[in-house]
């Protein structure tokens, strides 16, 4: 069931067992939300607690109080958690934030500005700054320029899941569940390949950053540890 409040942006935070690390995540979402609201945008916060532990749930409740919709799910899968969040979203647009990552405070404002110019596009931060277990900068490329070689999606992913797009895009292209036993993971990789193959373009939002925490035991670490690859977009 959708929230009764219609708005411009639904912020979907997916949390699992991040514990205290969900606090900086939630605070960065609040800062970005405040910046968006200062620009006149109406925002909704949805916290998806997917098999979340008590500490994580408490921290996020403490942060958002009555200012968020809370969903308790039993998916055990990052993509499915996002799908559940999208189902509850009343915003014209949706943006995702994983429970231990951070946005730069201008993320929502700048993404929405881009969205108004090209509503049929999936937006990504210009830069992903990975911190925690390693430190690096990863720059997202524009799928509509030659820097992007679509065949690279056979090999690896171009774009992270913490994206911004019109809610209808996320509804049309729900994330596919990982199957680590079979060796298929990286739901965002599959999502990138799927949407791009269907003609949905991906673009970076200039001068925005997502701060992506790397830590042992995360979903990405688990997928990497088994040499996981994307689901094929199509089968012969």
């Amino acid at each position: 069931m959708k929230s009764a409040v219609d708005c411009d942006i639904s912020i979907v935070i997916t949390a699992h067992r991040e514990g205290l690390l969900s606090a900086p995540c939630g605070k960065s979402a609040l800062l970005a939300k405040q910046a968006a609201e200062a620009e006149g945008l109406r925002c909704q916060t949805i916290v998806v607690l997917d098999r979340a532990d008590e500490l994580t749930s408490s921290v996020l409740h403490e942060l958002f109080g009555e200012g968020a919709v809370y969903l308790e799910t039993d998916e055990g899968d990052p993509g499915q958690s996002r799908n559940r969040g999208v189902e509850q979203a009343s915003g014209t647009c949706v943006s995702f934030l994983d429970g231990d990552d951070l946005w730069s405070e201008n993320w929502l404002v700048e993404s929405y500005r881009c969205y108004l110019e090209r509503p049929d596009v999936v937006y990504h931060p210009a830069c992903l700054m990975r911190f925690g277990d390693e430190r690096l900068l990863f720059w997202h490329v524009d799928s509509e320029c030659r820097l992007c070689d679509p065949e690279y999606l056979l090999w690896s992913n171009y774009w992270d899941a913490m994206s911004f797009a019109e809610a209808s895009i996320f509804r049309k292209y729900p994330f596919k569940a990982n199957d680590l036993a079979l060796g298929f993971g990286h739901e965002d990789w599959h999502w990138s390949a799927w949407t791009l193959q269907d003609g949905v373009q991906h673009k970076p939002v200039a001068e925005t950053i997502h701060f992506k925490r790397g830590r042992p035991g995360s979903q990405m670490s688990q997928v990497n540890s088994i040499g996981g690859v994307s689901w094929p977009v199509s089968r012969p």
């Binding site: 720059w139 690896s156 298929f184 950053i209 925490r213 012969p236």
Partner: protein
Amino acid sequence: MAPQDSSQGGAAESVSSEKRSNPDDQITGRSGSKLRYFPRDALRHIRKAIRRGLVPIVGSPGAGDDARLFFERQLFRGPGKGVDFNPLDLSSHDFEFGAAEVEDLASSFDADFYLESYPDVAASGINPFWHFIFKGRGEGRFPSADCAAVKNDKTQPLESLNIIDQIRPHFDENFYRAENKDLDKDLTDLVWHYVEFGVAEGRNPTSEFDTSFYLATYPDVAASGVNPFWHFIFKGHEEGRYPTSDLAGMGANKARTEKTLNVVEQIRPHFDEVFYKAQNEDLGDEFDDLVRHYVELGVAEGRNPTSEFDTAFYLETYRDIALGDTNPFLHYLLHGRQEGRQPNRTAHYRGWPFMVSCENEELISEMVTGDLASKAALEKIKTFCQSDRMNELVAKAAALEPDVGVIDKHVDSYCAPWLDQDFFFLRQCIDKIPSRPYTSVILMPAGRMGGADLVAAILAKALATEEKVIILRTDDSHWDRPEWYPETVISVDISDQMNSVTDSSKLLYSLLCHIGARDIFNVNSRRAFETYLKFGSRLTYQFRLYAYYFCADRTEDGLEVGYPVWFFANIFPNLTCAFTDTKNLSLELVERFSIPPAQRARVRSLYTPAVLDVPSEPIAARQLRKEGDRRPCVLWAGRLDRQKRFDLVVEVAAAMPNIDFRCWGKAVLDAPPNLDAMTRNLEINGPFDTYQELPLEDCDGFFYTAAWDGLPTILIELGALGMPVAASAVGGVPELIDETTGWLFADQAGADAAVSALRQMLSDPDERVRRATALQQRVRNRHSMALYREEILAVKQGRSS
């Protein structure tokens, strides 16, 4: 047409001397998209060459414009060669070299010699000079006849392979392993690692040789680019040079003084005296030689030799340098720059924000030429990457989570796909694949002349009647018998990429996903087996997997080894069907692994069709008509390897002096046999290319020996012709040769059994014709292309045969 080797074990090498054509030329267009990523490859090799201390070269005297154009674009300059370069100019990362060097090297390279000596290079279409510089010299190839003539001169280490072999006896692997715990445990050839990387990384080959000391102390050695340990063993020792400062004993102080002086002189051309004086007013006019001051005192005092090199930063950032006694600025000049180390805190932001920027800038520029969107996107990244705005956003996030930190020299910058060298190997493969879609992929190691290669060709022919088939050659580029394959079948050599990429299984998996063919057949490609193993369930999710198995090989201890041992049980669950070429092998596998009855249909024996037409009259009949006055004679052909029991032939020939044994073949897998015991009635010829080369009508039968085997194609082909055959009763041979179609003998029974079988065969001409006719009939019934095609079709359609 004929398979050279009668085994289908797959390890047999081609012994053909015929020149090969490269079908990729016709497929992709030699100067088309195939070379799209040539500059990138070249840059990678250049980088590797620098790390190896080689001096890159410009220009090409060989054929083809691609390499020439490329090199002309690359201004290339090696360090320490007396050229005036500024190592601190990170914004360019260009390299130059003198025209004289170009002329010298070009004049010493003989393109005709190279192409003639290395037909694989000629067939590949690669510029020969480029090949020599970046591949050939590393593979031990020679640029000219003169160089080849001095290859055994140990005073001239022509290429790294020679160096590796020459220093290996002096190398202390235990020491190297113990001192370098950061090395991958799976790294087996430590000498190779030392030569390729260890020298540049300042590692030592023994406790008694200090690589950094030697290079720093003897700048002539450093400048020459020769491996320092090799130099000490073969030259330096005799010249009285010291391997370490400690072991120099009485000469240590002298060595240190020499070392200091040498460091000073190496640094001097790059030292900015004006800057040093201005920055260090406290020194006044007390020191005449500011470079020496920097070396002896300035480093410890944290002074800087130029505005671009931060001594304290370098020592603080690179602890391995701080812990050693190498001058940090000299280290940077000789090694650090090539290793991507930063000379100061801000250098990182001076160039492109991408990892291995000097390699990628060229490629990126090439790729985005004329694409304004790309240029604008890159400009945005560059602008933001260096901006206060970015630092501000990071600082705000760090206020919430201090672990976010700041963006400093420790933070590398990546942009897909440039971050991933391995992707470009996939890209190169994709560029080679013409006109999808395909319905079947055949994976084979290479197109050689062995029995397994012939089977792959027959499989291609069977599939190609109704489908679009592509062959991928995974291990090497050989394509020795293009006439074996249907013209409609595309064959693509991906071996270079498979050999270069870090994870060949992932490369092959990704390529198969790209091709998207429903059916994938592996005919003896180890890399395909490895990919089946690693990605089996994921491949099966999308495709139908098939694998061909031929008889296992044997160790000298008699143990079975090979693909039926290594890659059957572990990949069978993901196979739609496992093919064998004999019922004997199918039965062995079923029994060995107790395959349940319901699953046994997934192990199918496919009798290999005869390629030669079956004539109406057996050759045995023509032999009788032509017999004349010649002595009784039998033919033998095969590899002179342990498996084929040529020793038994020698023994049998000695026991049958009135029979001539005419043999063809050569040793391929094992050392050549000792032929001292050969009697005069035994004649050994080289390998043969076609059956027409054999005196099939001027003999009385064929003698086949083996200690183990499947069903060799030579028996099938000779059976088709109606040749009388006496054969070892091993493996699948009795499925074709029995007491109605030939003469069998037990291999283990020694020469007597073989002699007995041959005597029976030779003693009764009418029986020879009778059994040869029966053999012909069996081949006609069992080994026909129509039957094979029907079997394959039945498997693909899920029907029983």
